[in-house]
Assembly symmetry: C2
Homo-oligomer: 352 residues x 2
């Protein structure tokens, strides 16, 4: 087995700190990856602090990170998809059962036996899986993705979660040229939603509460920006959207956006507000509108998204940090003080 | 113009009482119908009592009724669809603009210029339209439907609202053999939902809070009945429904039903609870599930539903009453004391 450097939290109230973890010896299907960059997702923070304890208890020590980009350093004897030196990515999942109807349909995100990249059940070594805040990871080739070489690896890392989480619902709800699409909330998820909706050819409208985000929204690809606190701006868009991607995790009035949907329009939530939202039935009834949710995406679609990014030269807007800055970065994340995603440069881990 | 007998309310607090109203002279496109039966819809009560004043103010006098079945007594010179003696129906709409994209698509229920059968803007005589609690109505042939002669006209009347309101979402969400479908709430809408889901070949599960509705649910066509207050019964159905038709107008926990939806499952609300519902985002995210609403249906689909009813011999379970019992029926409606819809026999109006 292989010792790997990592950052872990030993309890819900501990900061992340240097540690050494073990990675398994390669099975014939495994790929060993030297991690170059790992994005910081809000889920990392929730898990480290055990804030989703009503759904699942975090097991400590916890090594988070599921926006992983790195180079292949070793492959198992049966690995055909990758060779040493390839630029690869690993997202939120490292395994599934491969046999359920969801897996058969390429929807591993819904497999009842999926294995999360961190805080998942480690089938090989027992205990929990350790994520990407580390210098090395070993992953089954079926859960390793190819990163187009033209993309900046630091900025590509967040594609593995923020990217697929926004790309998947846009594709599922058939966003394309001729459609009017809204993106609510311009953060880590939202800024990817804008880039994708624009690249897919839709007329893209960003909703934000903050006037000082207007310029950035336009730069990212928005055709229009609506200040959502302005009733008069909102009313101009009544019943006109084919699709709205709602990236807000804070409490907010979703009915105001439902009223902006056209007949048969859909709003998909990709943020997960802790408290229940207030939903008026009339807004849905009056236009056969729907509200849905969407989590990440399957492996096939994640590769499709990465290829799309390669073709359209799309990456996340990142602030690259050293691993030693990760606790500070979490505090800034809570204040939404990042444009728009942190990406940890794992070269910084060598000095630990 | 023609004097017609009717029952109207003169204010939000007045009982319905006999009156005389005027129906227009036939235009070349019009059909004059002698009303035989008119169903009582909960909307009638809401409108008469001005309970939807936050959405629209009721104009008095108000003659409700939009579940109308009658025989053609006269036709305009250009009427080709109907002849004297035909058994016909009129539902919630008597006109629309015929030119908007929704009308072009046969979705008159979403036309921005639709004219409701009662409390709508009367283009011909000015003022508001008067509904089916009357002996006669004059309607443009495009908004008149053909009732299969094999159906009992008293029991067919509720098809024009309760029928299409439940049939339309079942068809829109592709309910058919091989699908598992839930119907929540066994009232005027729900009992029609059960009949349709069963006739469409779906495995139909009724959710009710009331044990004494089990037998009736099975008689109406349910394959299973779940007592929704039993956590153990509910949990057995987790993540298994393709579609749930939610017919409840009272406050209730929709998240309990969202958790029963399979991947990509949809729950459509056809009841309209007054207060906002509480919606948890995680339930939607975890299975790409959706919640939507649906109001009545278009004219083409309403005729399709009636033809389907003729073929499968489907009508509403009704209690036929005289118009003189209408105020008492409203009180019983509030207590859900009807199995499952009142149908007013308009012959009783002749004695007024």
């Amino acid at each position: 087995m292989l010792n790997a450097k990592a950052y872990s939290a030993v309890s819900a109230t501990s900061p992340l700190a240097p540690t050494t973890i073990v990675r398994r010896d390669l099975t014939e299907q495994d790929v060993q990856i030297e991690i170059l960059f790992c994005g910081i997702c809000h889920s990392d923070l929730h898990t480290v602090r055990n804030e989703w304890s009503s759904l699942i208890q975090t097991v400590y020590p916890c090594v988070p990170g599921h926006e992983i980009v790195g180079r292949v350093t070793k492959v198992g004897s049966a690995v055909t998809k990758f060779k040493v030196g390839d630029l690869t990515g690993v997202g939120c999942l490292v395994d599934s059962d491969h046999t359920c109807p969801q897996c058969q349909a390429g929807l591993e995100q819904f497999c009842p036996n999926q294995v999360w990249t961190y805080s998942g059940k480690d089938k090989h070594l027992g205990g929990v899986t350790y994520g990407g805040y580390s210098d090395t990871i070993v992953v089954d080739q079926r859960f390793v993705l190819r990163i187009p070489e033209n993309l900046d690896p630091a900025a590509a890392a967040p594609l593995l979660c923020a990217g697929i989480t926004t790309y998947s619902p846009l594709k599922h709800w058939d966003v394309k040229a001729g459609k009017k699409v809204g993106v609510v909330g311009l953060g880590g998820l939202g800024h990817m939603g804008v880039k994708f909706a624009h690249a897919l050819g839709a007329h893209t409208v960003v909703f934000t509460t903050s006037k000082n985000k207007v310029e950035d929204a336009l730069r990212l690809g928005a055709d229009e920006v609506v200040i959502s606190t302005s009733a008069s701006e909102m009313i101009r868009h009544t019943a006109s959207f084919d699709f709205i991607l709602n990236c807000v995790s804070a409490e907010h009035d979703i009915n105001a956006y439902i009223n902006l949907l056209a007949i048969d329009g859909n709003m998909t939530l990709v943020g997960a507000p802790e408290k229940p939202l207030s939903l008026g039935a009339f807004g849905l009834l009056m236009g056969r509108r729907s509200v849905s949710g969407s989590p990440i995406g399957g492996l096939r679609e994640t590769q499709e998204m990465l290829d799309f990014c390669g073709k359209h030269n799309i990456t996340s807007d990142v602030e690259t940090i050293a691993i030693q800055q990760v606790n500070e970065a979490y505090e800034r994340l809570l204040k939404a003080d990042v444009k728009y995603r942190f990406s940890i440069d794992m070269a910084s881990l060598k000095s630990e």
